[in-house]
Symmetry: C2
Subunit: 281 residues, 2 copies
């Protein structure tokens, strides 16, 4: 078996990738179990300093993930939404968003998801999005392909034919476009150019594009844990991933925007991010 | 038991409303059975003249609904998306959208829904939205309350407190806002004013607002079967429904736009539809 070379210069044995992939699946199984038990038994919710909600379930999933990763891969680093990083200098980093879309989870909207990824010096090795409320999971590992509930996913090589309305764009809500930098004009440009769009405000937005149920996702002004699994997921499905923004916010947070999906469409959508903005009024 | 008076001047016995409500639940059961069998066994898809998809499942559900309504209520009229009306002069009209969100259904996105309503001279008596892919159904009948999977739904009397971002708007995609009349400026106004929004492009958009999982829905330039159940659903849940557009398109179709949801918010959202449009450029 040939070794897989990552962009980060890692020459990694397929058996090692398989082991990381299997570990990520087990972490997703744990998340599914914890979330479903909480849906039966109830959970508590509080507001974080940025006004976004966090629940006892977010914390329970992240704690369990950190415990298992620490046991299985004691040298690996962990970056997660709900606790400080551990081993920040390790080449291998697990990046965790225990519940992406907590606002949806709290309201009973099943588009939330548990997102996790393993990166090596910033290059993705494994990515998983688990949707406990939809009986749905997507996983991928470098050189091993992308899977939807265990079935191989291959995005179509050609974009949808015909009218502009045939193209299905998924994007962030406008609140994201003005969260750190005012890029509201990009929301207007995207929704005018691609009028057949969806806005889910949660991990499911990524999953529909990774599985080809929509064509392109535009995820704007988010943190690393909101997009960490998506690059390997979409690339292993035969799609393309472009990081269109990578900036440091005034509070020191790293803020990312990404365009990904059907390989022939990502370039034209990403081009809107390099076009000049509107003239000042 | 007191009779229920509809806006249309019908003085109707509670037992009759209960019978219509039970019939609508049975129709939803049939739809769930047909859709789930089709998901197991497969179905065919073709494009309608307006380029939107229709499947063998849309037709099977509407045929079955028409057969049962014809047997149970032979004098009632039926208006449906996929076949010509029957008994168009009857005071009672069943209004059917066998699969709202066929584009989602075909792609495996579970936000599609089977929508049906009974109206009396235009006033709603019963409304149902069944989501076979989400184990979710909302039903309501005039004077009998609104229900989510059999549990009574009551919308909060007060809107969410705090920042503007706490308010959750669901709206049509921009393609709807320019479908018959160019009201693209309203899409811009709504998404700027309420930046925490979702766009599902299917029946689930109504269900999240009827159940209080989001605050207000703005459904733009649609047909009667796309909004027929929503008024009685939201009003029986304690919410408010405003028809903000009711026009005849050049092709003779009746085109409706509606704002509905949390009672204290509907007025302010609907007011955007009476504000002057942008100055011509």
């Amino acid at each position: 078996m040939r070794h897989v070379a990552t962009e980060s210069g890692l020459d990694i044995a397929p058996s090692a990738v398989a082991r990381y992939h299997a570990a990520a699946e087990e972490l997703a199984d744990e998340a599914r179990r914890i979330v479903r038990a909480a849906l039966d038994r109830g959970f508590t919710t509080e507001a974080k300093p940025d006004h976004s909600p966090v629940t006892s379930v977010d914390r329970a999933v992240e704690d369990r993930w950190r415990e298992l990763i620490g046991r299985w891969f004691p040298g690996h680093g962990v970056t997660g939404e709900e606790a400080p990083p551990s081993h920040p200098d390790s080449a291998f980093q697990w990046i965790l968003d225990p519940i992406d879309g907590t606002e949806e989870f709290v309201r009973g909207i099943p588009t939330y998801g548990c997102m996790l990824a393993l990166h090596h010096r910033g290059a993705p090795v494994v990515g998983v999005i688990e949707h406990p409320g939809l009986d749905l999971r997507v996983t991928a590992a470098i050189g091993r392909g992308a899977y939807r509930n265990g079935a191989r996913v291959r995005l179509p090589a050609e974009p949808p034919a015909g009218r502009r309305e045939a193209l299905r764009l998924v994007l962030s809500a406008r609140v994201n476009f003005v969260r750190h930098v005012d890029e509201g004009h990009l929301f207007e440009a995207l929704t005018r150019t691609y009028p057949n769009h969806r806005i889910y405000r949660a991990a499911y937005a990524h999953t529909v594009v990774v599985t080809g149920a929509a064509d392109v996702m535009v995820d704007v002004q988010n943190h690393i844990w909101d997009v960490a699994p998506s690059r390997v997921l979409v690339e292993e499905a035969g799609g393309r991933f472009e990081l269109v923004r990578d900036v440091t916010a005034p509070d020191g947070d790293r803020i990312l925007s990404a365009v990904f999906g059907q390989p022939r469409l990502v370039g034209e959508v990403a081009a809107l991010f390099t076009a000049p903005g509107p003239a000042p009024r």
